[in-house]
Point group: C2
Chain length 222, copies 2
DNA sequence: TTCTGAATTTAGGCTTGACTAATTATATTT
DNA sequence: AAATATAATTAGTCAAGCCTAAATTCAGAA
């Protein structure tokens, strides 16, 4: 029996999933920042979720939290909803990739399993969303990610953009304008070890990108 | 500045709109029944909404409630969302008309104005939803309803179905099976004054329908 | 007109999930 | 190793919205 969690709980689980993707527990402060909720409130909620009958979180005071298998499944369900919705807003309603986040953020909590199945089928069970983020499968597994951060590439290396990890609409619009969207080929022309700027070539044009951008772009190396 | 109301408030306004369509105020009890909320709680909410800065409700103790112009606009907004969503679930995701209500009931509270505009445009600014219910216009006016209840027709009268007012999935499925859906032509063959049963002809076949059905079907008289 | 039952309202309580302020742990310096 | 800064937790509040139980008001019947 799957008890449906509240919108708040779903948000917590989703953020914790994201913050623990690197393998380490999520801190109260980081979670609070991501959720726009005060740390004290976050402590309260994680203690509640860790204490539930089938616990959703693993939690030791002052040590941060991780998801239990149950919590992870719930998180992947929400993330699947989110990414399917973003894909679908772009493909069927003509949204731009910088316009979908907010809308999906609200819709993800209210769609039925039936709705999820219908849009997944209508979209042909997509692997990635409009930003290139991997979409958890219907059985709630996250596909393996084989991408490399553009920030790790050096002179002469090249690749194809797989994913742009950002919800910043202004940045996304800018990247779209200069053609840095999934599936585009990129070549690194130069690297500056001092500021970590990368000079890259895209479609005959070159751009110098700072780390705050290159760290958000992920590629399949050519 | 339009302050967005909570989902609860939106539900209250929507139900009050429906209950006051006949011109008389909505009673606490009727509202409680429609909302599946205890009458005492309804009283509390009604008093709160009637006391807000721009009041949403007109309320006198023991006299029931009506919507103020502000409340009516908010109600029509929700109803527009609901009906556009139902239309859109049917037209683009292949839902059947008996499957859309629950889904729309949840989605109606979270879609943006942008989303509303996009689906309205994609659907060609429809006048009616899949049940034939009129969809409030973008400037929040309810189009005039010129339909007549099937229950008011008598022997020899005929018409075209405009609307089926029911959220009962079983009934909707049954009506669909016997072909009683919007746009279908109906002719009254017989009327029984004792039980108010009507014998009608649809596509060469005849059916005897009770008042609980005929009162929910609305037509344009031929 | 008075009575009775249904409808409505009041009173008081509970849960969820947020907040602030104050306290306690942990980490970082010196 | 002590002092301090940062992170996390506790304690106590609050607003929404629901609930039950106990009044109260109204409307129709006697």
């Amino acid at each position: 029996m799957k008890k449906s969690s509240t919108q708040s709980v779903q948000d917590y689980l989703k953020r914790i999933y994201e913050l623990t993707e690197n393998g380490s527990p999520a801190s109260t402060n980081d979670l609070a920042r991501e959720l726009n909720i005060k740390p004290a409130s976050v402590t309260g909620m994680i203690q509640k979720l860790a204490a539930e009958k089938p616990a959703l979180l693993e939690y030791q005071k002052h040590q941060g939290v991780t998801l239990t298998p149950t919590g992870k499944r719930a998180a992947l369900e929400v993330i699947r909803h989110h990414r399917l919705l973003e894909t679908w807003l772009v493909q069927t309603l003509g949204y731009a990739w910088d316009e979908v986040h907010e809308e999906a953020e609200r819709l993800e909590h209210v769609i039925s399993e039936d709705f999820e199945r219908r849009i997944a089928a209508a979209l042909g069970h997509p692997l990635r969303d409009p930003h290139g983020e991997l979409i958890p499968t219907a059985d709630l597994k996250m596909p393996a990610d084989k991408s490399t951060s553009l920030s790790a590439l050096r002179k002469k290396q090249a690749g194809r953009i797989l994913c742009v990890k950002s919800a910043d609409a202004d940045l996304l619009r800018h990247l779209n304008e200069i053609g840095l969207t999934p599936n585009t080929m990129i070549e690194v022309i130069d690297y500056s070890p001092f500021d970590h700027n990368l000079t890259i070539k895209v479609e005959k044009k070159t751009y110098v990108l700072g780390l705050s951008i290159t760290s958000k772009i992920f590629l399949e190396i050519a």
